[in-house]
């Protein structure tokens, strides 16, 4: 063949051979010259071996810094894990060049020294060089067209939190995170640019850990409802926050449309830490110990105040003989007792201990990181409940010598065990009479005070336990098939085994009821989820004359198989056997289900850049989901994004203070299929109940195979500016998202047999807002550095349309033109000087205050604006940082959950300000014993009035930390000591326990102080 070619084109081959010869000759010449040069050098200048250490200004060692002799082609060397280096054969008068990504390159003349320690300064202008993970691709921050918020390990490491989301609260614009409670292992409410869906579960963002999506649908069923708000267990509980390298949150259409149907509520990308090239394998041991308490206690009445309230209550109702069940004042209970029940029930100091070991190392081609962690935290409840997590994670990266083949593999395993009380006692700690009896008798047994006392710690025996094992594996292969043409395969497995147990021994109930272990019961729920993911992709990059094109085409196939088994057992010979279902006299299977979810998609991205100044980004996705009827399974999503780096233009060259300027905008469509599986089927479901030994089958739902995807269009415009060499960066973004086709059950009258039918409701919800991020670096001297970042978001949620709202059960919940988070309440006017009852505005003048005609006042709950201000200061080996989080919002206050003043429940001291003829300015109506229906009604209305909604804004010193790094010796590189505080200070006018909550009546987030030591070997 070749011979044949030769004969066809002899000139070409002749030329080639000449060229070959020429090349060989040049090579020879080069070698000779180089050799001569070296010879000359060694002959005329003395060479030395230079050693030293390269560190950051803070003193942190910098591994991987490349060191070359200026003006030579010598390969030089790189620093090791401790920042140290040794470079032999250096001319004594040479100039060494130290360079490292993200740092300013330094050139230092040796001047005869053999030891040279260097401090590298971080290159602030290099911020735009930061590479941001956008999921299927990465993009340089400077040229990205989408809206992506990012936090890195630097911000979140070592914080005394078990979920990284606690550590990122307040750090990102447009991302509002609320922790659901102070009990470990629970959930978070994450709103990325507001709530799009009318369903709570329709607002979960998508979570992707190292390329593998993890289900955000909560695994817990109703078993945890009374201890974990909304039974939510956040999927990021499975990751040790210290294993996280970065968290990127994709917000706008440009960033999320490539996730199509699953991107509507934003995407949270978690990237775990990787190993890096180092001569010496690095070992790090990190341990910390923390103490947590409730952030705040309500000041409640003491015994004399309380008893006075109770007596007045009966007196005002004209009752002189206290009823039999008024134990607190009828002489049954000791009237001289006083207990601070908040102290007793939620006043314990929770202990939080953490240890983590990590080992990393590798060569230029291959590196690894292995990490193991154990975390244990107890609760503030007065018993040894605890939440334990064990984590094991691995990362392996490999690159072939020719750089054509890459492999990234990561694995995360976590085991979380949560042992909790079944029902939160926070509410009880506020309600119990201060003179209620002692909890335990002298012999240590529970005190029921002759059956007059519902002992609040009796339910401590009624436990909720869960064990959650999560395995997340990811393999990412890449191969450069042709020049700039890459094949990629992303594959992953996500497996979850989740077991829950509720134990309900008869001893938790009053013994007067004479129950025996025959009424003890055990409930178990086991869930198993297995998901695999395959994503083949091709990527082509092309650059020519300032035109750069990057094309990505890929497919996704995901299959999730879930099985769930629920068991209930009742009747045990002894409570010692209660954990064993086989010992139950009666045990039955509540449910046993196997379900599948399949998802397939084709996606693509075309990115075009001209002169690194004009950027166009097109993304699209065609999605198919098994969650819809056969005619509605597929849908198309996509977005267009564009950016203009205007500061690069010539006419901006003279404006020195403007170092960066970018305008960007995007528009696109995303969606949601988060409605659960099989909702379109016409079926009967196996019931947990049976009759006469026959297991029942019930109609699953009203049959509607026609519903389809929920859709969200997103529009954004943003301006990014950098001043004074980017020492000041200001990003401003405006967005408007509109969600329609709401997949919410359409309410039906009961005569249809069901309360709703699954269908697309043509209601539109709009979220719009403004986000500002200001990053500054006010001080930057040799040893002192100060960064100060501020962000603020002004969100606005609005129900744009809702056909048929007036006649629906949602009429009391939503109003068109208002946010979806409103409450409709009665207008509280004051207290009637004649009757002492509360007065409310009778809008329909029917003489009767009732819903829905009189609860017309619309109160917008939820944030008006929120944000954070963080500062990092470093001086030599010291680092200090703090973060203030602030939220301006209105929420339901304690009046909304208050029991009627005068009832057998304690009250906050505010209730002492009771109205009477002598105190006409009193805030609360006269105490009442509960026998007066009018007063009861008046109080019930008060709980749903404007008086029960109030300011819940707060500023919180979310995190404060101080650390000191002590360099040691060759064997122990350094030791870092750190102290951290979480939720340390809260400034608020909120009337209630804490303004951060998603459901009232649960334990609010805790205040934590922790201390830690990290050894780096």
């Amino acid at each position: 063949m070749m011979e044949k070619n030769k004969s066809y084109c002899p000139q070409f081959y002749r030329l080639l051979s000449v060229l070959r010869d020429t090349r060989a000759r040049y090579r020879l010449l080069f070698l000779l010259l180089a050799g001569t040069f070296i010879l000359i050098n060694s002959a005329y200048t003395q060479t030395v071996t230079v050693t030293g250490r390269v560190t950051e200004l803070s003193g942190n060692p910098l591994p991987g810094v490349s060191i070359v002799i200026k003006g030579t082609s010598s390969t030089g060397t790189t620093t090791g894990e401790e920042g140290q280096y040794t470079l032999p054969g250096v001319p004594a008068d040479a100039v060494l060049s130290f360079s490292f990504v993200g740092f300013k390159t330094q050139e230092i003349p040796l001047n005869g020294r053999t030891r040279l320690n260097v401090q590298l300064q971080e290159d602030i202008t290099a911020l735009s060089e930061v590479v941001v993970n956008a999921g299927y691709y990465t993009v340089k921050d400077a040229v990205r067209t989408g809206s992506i918020a990012r936090v890195t390990a630097k911000e979140i490491q070592n914080q005394p939190v078990s979920n990284a989301l606690s550590a990122v609260q307040g750090r990102m614009a447009g991302v509002n995170i609320t922790q659901s409670g102070g009990t470990g292992g629970g959930g978070y409410d994450i709103q990325i640019r507001g709530t799009n869906s009318l369903r709570r579960a329709g607002n979960y963002p998508m979570y992707i850990i190292d390329g593998v999506p993890v289900s955000s649908e909560t695994a817990s069923n109703s078993l945890s409802a009374t201890i974990l708000p909304y039974t939510e267990i956040n999927p990021l509980n499975a990751i040790n926050p210290n294993d996280i390298e970065s968290i990127e949150i994709l917000k706008d259409a440009d960033a999320t449309a490539i996730y199509g149907s699953r991107g509507a509520n934003g995407v949270i990308l978690v990237t775990t830490k990787k190993g890096r090239a180092a001569k010496k394998t690095a070992l790090s041991v990190n341990t910390s110990y923390g103490l947590s308490r409730v952030v705040n206690k309500l000041k409640m009445m003491d015994t004399p105040q309380y008893l006075e309230m109770r007596r007045q209550a009966y007196a005002s109702d004209g009752i002189t003989k206290y009823p039999a069940n008024a134990y607190d004042i009828n002489g049954t209970w000791d009237e001289n007792r006083y207990t601070d029940w908040q102290n007793e029930l939620i006043g314990k100091t929770a202990i939080n201990s953490n240890i983590q070991l990590s080992l990393s190392g590798g060569s230029e081609n291959t590196n690894f990181l292995v990490s193991a962690g154990h975390n244990e935290q107890t609760t503030v409840f007065a018993k040894d409940f605890n939440y334990k997590t064990n984590n094991l994670s691995m990362n392996l990266n490999h690159r072939s010598d020719d750089n054509r083949f890459t492999l990234k593999a990561s694995g995360l395993f976590s085991e979380q065990t949560n042992n909790l009380i079944r029902s939160d006692v926070t509410k009880q700690s506020l309600l119990l009479s201060p003179n209620a009896p002692v909890l335990y008798k002298e012999d240590g047994s529970l005190n029921w005070e002759n059956n007059t006392f519902a002992n609040p710690v009796a339910p401590y025996g009624n436990t909720y336990d869960n064990k959650n094992r999560v395995l997340n594996l990811n393999i990412n292969l890449g191969y450069e098939l042709f020049r700039s043409f890459y094949l990629k395969l992303n594959g992953g497995i996500d497996q979850q085994i989740f077991e829950e147990t509720i134990l309900s021994p008869n001893t938790t109930r009053n013994p007067a009821f004479g129950s025996t272990p025959a009424s003890s019961s055990t409930t178990k729920a086991n869930q198993h989820r297995f998901t695999y993911l395959l994503e083949p992709q091709v990527n082509y990059k092309h650059a020519l004359n300032g035109h750069e094109t990057d094309i990505l085409i890929g497919g996704t196939f995901q299959h999730r198989q879930s099985s769930a088994l629920g068991l209930f057992g009742m009747g045990f010979e002894s409570n010692a056997l209660i954990t064993n279902m086989a010992a139950a006299a009666n045990a039955w299977v509540d449910y046993d289900t196997e379900t599948g979810y399949k998802y397939a998609a084709l996606f693509g991205r075309i990115n075009y850049q001209y002169k690194n100044r004009y950027i166009l980004n097109l993304t699209g996705r065609r999605d198919g989901s098994s969650r819809f009827g056969t005619n509605n399974r597929f849908a198309n999503f996509g977005a267009v994004g564009a950016a203009w780096l205007f500061a690069e233009e010539e006419f901006f060259n003279d404006i020195r203070w403007l170092s960066f300027g970018k305008l960007r905008t995007s528009y696109g469509l995303t969606g949601s299929d988060a409605i659960g599986d099989y909702q379109y089927l016409d079926t009967y479901t196996v019931s947990s109940k049976s009759y006469g030994g026959i297991k029942a089958l019930y109609p699953s739902r009203l049959y509607n195979p026609y519903f389809s995807w929920e859709k969200t269009t997103k529009l954004e415009a943003a301006l990014e500016l950098g001043f004074i060499n980017d020492r000041i960066r200001l990003n401003t973004a405006w967005y408007r998202n509109r969600s329609g086709n709401q997949l919410v059950g359409i309410p039906l009258p009961a005569t249809t047999g069901f309360s709703r039918i699954q269908a697309n409701l043509p209601a539109t919800v709009e979220n719009r807002g403004l986000e500002f991020e200001l990053n500054t670096n006010p001080v930057r001297t040799g040893s002192f550095n100060w960064n100060s970042d501020f962000n603020i978001t002004f969100p606005r949620n609005k129900l744009v349309s809702f056909p048929g709202l007036e006649g629906s059960t949602y009429a009391n919940q939503y109003v068109v033109g208002y946010p979806t988070s409103i409450v409709k309440v009665y207008n509280y006017e004051g207290i009637d000087p004649e009757t002492g009852l509360y007065i409310f505005t009778d809008y329909n003048n029917d003489g009767n205050i009732s819903s829905p005609d009189d609860n017309r006042v619309i109160k917008e709950t939820g944030p008006r604006y929120y944000g954070g201000w963080s500062n990092q200061l470093s001086y030599k080996q010291w680092e200090f940082s703090f973060l203030f989080q602030f939220v301006n919002q209105v929420q339901k206050n304690y009046n909304s959950m208050m029991s009627r003043p005068g009832s057998l429940n304690n009250q906050p001291v505010e209730v002492l300000d009771v109205w009477s003829k002598d105190n006409p300015g009193g805030q609360y109506m006269p105490y009442s014993s509960g026998t007066d229906a009018q007063k009861n009604q008046s109080h019930a209305l008060f709980m749903n009035s404007t008086a029960a909604v109030g300011d819940a804004s707060f500023i919180r010193l979310k995190n404060i930390q101080l650390s000191y790094r002590l360099p040691v010796n060759r064997h122990v590189r350094d030791i870092r000591f750190y102290a951290q505080g979480q939720n340390v200070l809260t400034f608020t006018n909120y009337f209630g326990l804490d303004p951060e909550f998603i459901l009232t009546g649960f334990l609010p987030p805790l205040k934590t102080w922790s201390f830690g030591i990290q050894f780096n070997f």
Partner: protein, 455 residues
């Protein structure tokens, strides 16, 4: 470049063409397609069993449930005192202060209509089935008709004019209007006539946990009383009394035991050994009541030597104060001999007595009234005027059927004597004969307007 294009095309084709199959998941393991559910008798029975579990656990017929007419109507009338610290939906009903937003009333409405839907689904399913035998189809349809009619009966008695549907179509059911009470009762009578022809006398289960033809006849007789068809009521009741299947229970201690020959239909708890819902619901001891206690008026209506007071009522004394709770069902653990009775023969006696008395055959009616008295150890009544007899009938039935599915309320209502409650209940008003239609239902289906008078 060609190769690249091929690759692109290939990947594209692969994903596009295979998509349909890629996302097909079939059925979940715990669900069965609706037509398949009625292909064989086992699964059809399972769909019917669902109806019984619902009726047993959370319906107007559930004796120990917060939406059962046993407690709600008992407290609404004069059988029970409601005992809660704070005002709630049950207190409102007890105090006759219920409003259209009362959530207990809304639950009664929605649970009943859900169960009616289940019954309709079973009826439709067996009618459509081509594989079930005629016997099975008739039996299942008959049982479902009986349960559905019983639910409609209660809804009508509680709410007055109500929607009547036999359809599964939600588009039709969501806009359905109300059916006038007399028309509805005529329809119910027709439905029960059909159930009587569909059902057999023989019990499907020896423990009488499924209704038979006689149970259907008992409901028919109840409906006849409402329709003032005294003769048909008498004939139907007599038909039951003459059946060799039944025998009056002479021992007061055995009345609520499951093996009695006086039982027409009873509901079996889910598991062997489970308590009846009634046994747990009314229980309290050593402390103040939890929810309901018997009214002093009712307890006082028993003669001291009335065995029912001794056997069916328990006294709880704490700190010198006494309360009385219903104690018909006793086993709270390891229950071996009690099921919840829906229909018992005594009711047929009372229907007989009532139908005869209405026809002014008081002497003929007396033995049917005295049966209860004699068993309770009381002296039988002798010749009474019609008026006096009716008073005795009502009082006797109150003592016999207290807290059983709202008999007392239904009786007072049927006799037009609910207004007598105002002597005991300060907030009683004439318009409170019926409850308000739940507000949400009116909002969702404006064809249900107007709201019942007074609300």
């Amino acid at each position: 470049m060609k190769r690249i294009s091929y690759l692109f095309i290939y990947v594209g084709l692969l994903l596009f063409t295979a998509c349909e199959d890629l996302i097909d998941v079939g059925y979940p393991s715990n669900q069965l397609g609706t037509p398949q559910a009625f292909e064989d008798v086992q699964t059809a029975n399972a769909a019917l069993a669902n109806l019984y579990t619902q009726v047993r656990d959370r319906s107007v017929l559930t004796g120990g449930s917060y939406i059962g007419t046993g407690s709600l109507c008992g407290a609404y009338a004069d059988e029970l005192d409601c005992y809660y610290y704070d005002q709630n939906q049950y207190m409102d009903i007890y105090q006759n202060q219920q409003q259209e937003t009362n959530i207990a009333i809304a639950s009664v409405w929605s649970a009943s209509y859900q169960q009616i839907y289940y019954a309709n689904a079973v009826i439709y399913g067996v009618e459509q089935s081509t594989t079930l035998s005629d016997d099975d189809r008739n039996r299942i349809k008959g049982e479902a008709l009986l349960v559905r009619s019983l639910l409609y009966f209660y809804l009508q008695q509680l709410f007055g004019d109500i929607p009547y549907t036999t359809s599964l179509d939600y588009e039709y059911n969501r806009t359905i209007g109300k059916t006038e009470a007399s028309v509805l009762l005529t329809q119910l009578e027709k439905d029960m006539m059909e159930a009587v022809t569909l059902l057999e006398d023989d019990y499907r289960d020896a423990e009488r946990i499924y209704p038979n033809r006689k149970a259907a006849q008992l409901l028919l007789a109840r409906i006849c009383l409402l329709r003032e068809d005294w003769l048909l009521a008498e004939q139907t009741a007599k038909n039951i009394l003459q059946s060799p299947l039944y025998q009056y229970e002479a021992d007061i201690n055995e009345v609520f035991h499951k093996s009695g020959k006086h039982i027409l239909w009873q509901l079996k708890p889910q598991n062997n050994g489970d308590a009846t819902s009634e046994a747990a619901f009314y229980f309290f001891t050593g402390s103040a009541p939890n929810n309901y206690i018997l009214t002093a008026n009712l307890v006082g209506s028993f003669a001291d030597n009335d065995l029912r007071k001794q056997v069916w009522i328990a006294e709880v004394t704490v700190n010198g104060q006494s309360w009385y709770r219903p104690y018909k069902y006793k086993n709270r653990e390891n229950n071996a001999n009690e099921y919840s009775i829906v229909f018992r023969l005594e009711e047929a006696y009372f229907i007989m007595a009532e139908a005869l008395a209405r026809q002014n055959k008081v002497d003929e009616a007396l033995p049917y009234l005295n049966a209860s008295r004699e068993r309770a150890g009381l002296i039988p009544l002798t010749s009474l005027s019609q008026e006096a007899f009716i008073d005795e009938l009502l009082a006797e039935k109150r003592r016999e059927f207290f807290t059983e599915s709202g008999h007392r309320f239904l009786d007072l209502k049927r006799w037009g004597r609910l207004n007598e409650l105002s002597a005991l209940k300060p907030d009683w008003k004439d318009y409170k004969q019926v409850w308000p239609i739940p507000r949400n239902e009116l909002l969702l289906n404006p064809n249900l307007y107007p709201q019942n008078t007074g609300y």
